[in-house]
């Protein structure tokens, strides 16, 4: 096995490659979400889905706050503040779980239609379901990050895993930023 220490240039290059790969994945995934969004407007048009508006606002806020803490965690680790990093990360994960419970546990139970009740139910459950699936995978990634963070694997120079999961988390947030008005607010 060769054991030449990789140079700074090589590390930077690898980082740039990984970043590009990550963003290409987002680009790809956003086409899937875009397809769902188009389905919503194609099938339901200007029809408003009857949902619990208050609950919608609450889960949206929860996801937004979690995104804020995720950003904070990333800033903390880039300054080598490991304690602050772990605290913010933990809050992010907990808020993520609250969001999932809010959507899957409460909203799905609360809605007065099931997935088999017409186009409205189909669109609503598919969109929230796909998004919830992404939140779930995001939480799993963050749990791995948390575990590695506790074991002290990250520092200011070396934390691409944190950056990647943070970006994924924000991406899921961006999707909800579009889905929230499309599902809850638009139409009459």
């Amino acid at each position: 096995m060769s054991s030449i220490q990789p140079s700074i240039n090589q590390i930077q290059k690898k980082l740039a490659i990984s970043r590009l790969g990550l963003w290409l994945f987002f680009a790809s995934d956003s086409f899937m979400f875009g397809g769902l969004l188009i389905s919503r407007f194609y099938l339901l048009g200007n029809q408003k889905i009857e949902l619990n508006q208050f609950l919608g606002l609450v889960v949206t806020s929860v996801l937004l706050v979690s995104s804020f803490f995720m950003n904070r965690a990333e800033v903390m680790i880039s300054r080598d503040n490991k304690k602050g990093f772990l605290t913010s990360l933990l809050i992010t994960i907990l808020l993520g779980i609250v969001f999932l419970v809010g959507v899957v546990g409460l909203e799905w139970r609360d809605a007065h239609f099931g997935p088999a009740d017409g186009a409205q139910g189909a669109v609503f459950y598919m969109m929230t379901g796909m998004h919830a699936f992404h939140v779930l995978t995001g939480i799993i990634f963050l749990l791995f990050v948390l575990r590695n963070g506790i074991n002290g694997k990250f520092n200011a120079e070396n934390h691409f895993m944190v950056e990647a999961s943070a970006n994924y988390w924000h991406f899921v947030d961006v999707v909800w930023i579009i889905f929230y008005p499309a599902l809850y607010l638009m139409g009459s």
Binding site: N9, Q12, K13, L15, A16, R19, L20, W23, N46, Q53, L57, T60, S61, L64, V65, S67, F68, M70, N71, R72, V75, S78, E157, A166, N167, H170, F171, D173, V174, I177, I178, Y180, P181, Y184, L185, M186, G187, S188
Partner: protein, 67 residues
């Protein structure tokens, strides 16, 4: 915005997002033209993409990066 340190910047961005969300909510339940909701959603998306996801990092040269 550039001059703020990154923690404060996070807080400012968060407050902007929060205000926009509340605006969106009240506009939404009051049946305004859809285009307004779209504009707000796109502003929010741009804020997150730029300040939280650091989209610009993608175009930094390979040699130097990472704040």
């Amino acid at each position: 915005m550039k001059k703020l340190n990154s923690l404060t910047r996070g807080i400012v961005v968060f407050f902007m997002l929060a205000v926009l969300t509340i605006m969106e909510y009240f506009l939404g339940i009051n049946q305004v033209p859809q285009i307004l909701l779209w504009i707000i959603a796109i502003i929010k998306m741009a804020l997150v993409l730029n300040y939280f996801m650091h989209f610009y990092r993608l175009f930094e040269s390979d040699e130097r990066g990472n704040e």
